[in-house]
């Protein structure tokens, strides 16, 4: 079982907090990886807020492949940063030669293009680079989006922290939202792409559990949008459904829950909005999930949410203090990272609710 967690804070926080959150929940699993998405960046990236950042792990040739593709399209690199690495004998980690975080200027042609066109371009670029890297086996691209960096690594989370010097208070590398997971996927061979969190067009999602409707979800999603691909992990489906419902269909967030875990027909019948709910249930039957899952997501505007499968078969807890909210798999993580909080205010999301954290760190409980 994966351990996942999202930290949303008013202040910039370092990956250290995420590592600590994960390590305290580490008991009983295989320490096979650590991955995180950082959003609303501080440190060296703070002044590039509107510009897309390329996050890759690749070979030397991999860098060249990506840069060539972007240059050809008219992107201009304005900044790059790479974490300093500290290799040492005995670290349980399988690093790639390069970890690339590059900030780009959009092609001039797009200066006056509508936002949606720019967003599509960024997805297209990422897919193109991904395809090229895959063909030659030269690396992995995780995200290409403003104000977002992604790091995924195979190995022991503590050692990964040491290797990248993430345990230090490095103010260069910080963010107000960090979503993290420890442990690699179990369903298949270890594949870097399969590590949560997953990212697409400003949406981040990760899940703890197993998607028993994976095949059904995947078969349907494949045809919905060009960015729905990969499917290295059954949990990617949760991200794609989130993106589809919220971004493509432009439905309010609560309908994400109604889509993945629809109310039973009996309950729908009793509701005033039964016309809406039954239509959703009919049309998006293939996006339903049947658990066991808990899903944590981050929306493009920086709000964070959590919901579970309809049987609540996976644990999750939400804790907060005055300037930080954490949603994570197990309370031990919260106790470690946020010992001073009032634990009586902790929320254990139930099967029919959604926890929504807005940008004022207000925690809302929405009943489905």
């Amino acid at each position: 079982m994966c351990r996942i967690g999202a930290i949303k804070s008013k202040n910039y926080i370092q990956p250290k907090t995420a590592l600590q959150l994960m390590r305290s929940q580490q008991k009983g699993h295989d320490n096979s990886g650590f991955a995180m998405v950082m959003q609303d960046l501080g440190g060296v990236f703070e002044k590039y807020k509107g510009l897309p950042i390329l996050s890759m792990a690749c070979t030397d040739d991999g860098i060249k492949i990506a840069e060539d593709i972007l240059h050809k399209e008219g992107f201009a690199r304005v900044f790059q940063w790479a974490p300093q690495v500290f290799p040492r004998e005995g670290l349980k980690i399988e690093p790639m030669p390069n970890y690339v975080f590059q900030v780009y200027q959009l092609p001039k042609l797009y200066k006056y293009a509508p936002e949606s066109e720019k967003e599509e371009l960024l997805v297209e670029m990422r897919l193109k680079i991904r395809k090229a890297l895959d063909e030659l086996d030269e690396g992995f691209i995780y995200s290409f989006w403003p104000d977002v960096v992604t790091l995924k690594e195979i190995g022991d989370p503590s050692d990964i922290g040491e290797y990248f010097d993430l345990w230090s208070e490095n103010k260069d590398f910080s963010a107000k939202i960090i979503s993290a997971q420890c442990r690699q996927n179990t369903n298949y061979d270890i594949v870097r792409y399969a590590a949560h969190p997953f990212f697409l067009q400003g949406y981040t999602a990760m899940a703890n559990g197993e998607n028993t409707f994976y095949e059904k979800n995947k078969n349907f999603q494949k045809n919905l949008y060009k960015g729905y691909l990969g499917f290295e992990s059954d949990s990617q489906c949760f991200l794609y459904t989130l993106h589809y419902v919220h971004k493509v269909l432009n439905w309010p967030l609560i309908y994400y829950k109604h889509t993945i875990t629809p109310l039973s027909f009996d309950e729908i019948d009793k509701r005033e909005d039964n016309a809406v709910l039954s239509k959703i249930r009919s049309s998006l039957a293939n996006l339903e999930i049947n658990g066991p899952n808990t899903i944590i997501g981050v929306l493009p505007d920086g709000s964070v949410f959590n919901c579970c499968d309809s049987k609540k078969l996976r644990p999750v807890v939400v804790g907060k203090n005055k300037d930080t909210v954490i949603i994570t798999s197990e309370v031990s993580g919260l106790n470690d990272v946020m010992p001073e909080r009032n634990w009586e205010d902790d929320i254990y999301t139930h099967e029919r609710e959604m926890i929504y954290v807005n940008n004022d760190l207000e925690v809302q409980r929405w009943h489905q």
């Binding site: 239509k279 959703i280 293939n286």
Partner: protein, 547 residues
Amino acid sequence: MASVKVNDLAKDDLSWRIDYDSSRCTMCGSCVSSCPFGAIHSKVEKRRKVVSEDITPNPKIIFQTVPVISQTIDEYMFCRGCGVCERVCPNEAIRPVRNSDARFGMRYRGALADPFKRGGRSNLETDGRTLDKIKVGRISQMTDPSLDAQRHTFDILSPFGRTLPAGEIPFSISEDGKLKFSGDAPPVNWIYPIIIGDMSIGALSWRVWEAIAIATAYLNEECSIPIRMCSGEGGVPQRLLKSRFLKYTILQIASGHFGWNRIINAMPEMVEDPAGVLIKIGQGAKPGDGGLLQAKKVARHIQEIRGVPKADLLSPPNHQGLYSIEESVQKMFLSLNSAFKFNVPVAIKVAASSTSVSVYNNLLRDPYNIVGGFFLDGIDGGTAAAHEISLDHTGHPAISKLRDCYHAAVHQGKQNQIPLWAAGGLGKTGNLASDAFKMICLGANGVFSGKLIIQLAGCLGNDQGKCNACNTGLCPVGICTQNPLLVKRLDVDKVAENIVNYFLSVDQEMKKLLAPIGNSTLPVGRSDALISTDKNVADRLNIQYAC
């Protein structure tokens, strides 16, 4: 020397021989009077006996005339092996025995220059069923806990009706940030994933029909299992049309349009909409053939319901005036949908064939969003009457075509938009739940089954040539007949009870299959839950091979 009549029909040619023990027979006559086919009769036989009346042997020959039961040897009145005589005999004096050397079909054709017709069962089992080579192989344990079938609540329903893609549903966002449904969308009824298949009231006796209707109503109203029955071609009793139970009935219109004028005339008096309309293009038991109701079964009430005289009622093999898929869509749109004011889903049923996928592909592109379901009927389906040659030698198993159709929908990204329902021998081995479950995992939204229902009503036939006399109007248990004496043999309440009980078990069994795979809703298209122990089946259906 008397000539040897080798070309005459002989007992040895028949499929069944009567095994009769005169020493046990009390000559009560029950067997003869209960055999509707006249396949046995009483007669007298002359017996020669050597007896001795003295203490020392003093042989004396006496001749006696004894009454016996004898088998009729005749092209029409031959024994069907139904076993009714055996059931009624108080002394176990008589029973039919299968004759493995039979060649009756050949003799019949040779004598009568007429294709052999019989009840709707394939009697040419060349291989085991594909469904039986598939198992539910994914058992949830540690990663995705299994459920408790006894305590968990399950949501076992399937759509009947056209589903719009999410982006096309007329939703707007209201001030309170909620979605609002404003506009029209095709009707979708959520029903139990097993429909009682379309068996017409001409083919079945009114008593079975009534029993099925009672069972359906009971299952809906007392057991909360929203099962639907389909009427089959041939009209519906006015009483049902005007009753509130019509909402559980799917009305069928087939190529003969029998009874449709009666249905249309009853519309102003209908208090409920029917559960749906099913346009039958073809059926699995006799692909390429139309319905076949012989005059002997067209009793007075059938004439009344169908609005026809007493004559052979042969539905044409195609819908006259319907020559393309596009046209079928238009007709559905123009006629039946508008007739019921677009409140009732209209689906079509075709026989599974090599062209099923093209039809389904085309329907998926239907511009009016009007096709409410695609019913695929494979071989092994069918009741009533058909030509033997159709039963044994035409058609396609539904299972691989269902899979192909599902894949075609997936390919177009339109799965679930036109619900897929499939049938053809489902429940044939007695377990409908497992068959249905496997079909659903392969992509069906639901299944329909007919023959199993008449088995529950007491049908004695099987796929090894037992009985199958449904075409004769002489069904020995009162199912496929309109003969008042035979119909009386059927106990309506008992049949309804059997059907209800069977579905209650099926519902339990569905849960017993859902629980281990960790699903509380139907696993449509979840073929990862299945394995096959046959490599060819696994490859063909794209499921995991296990050995």
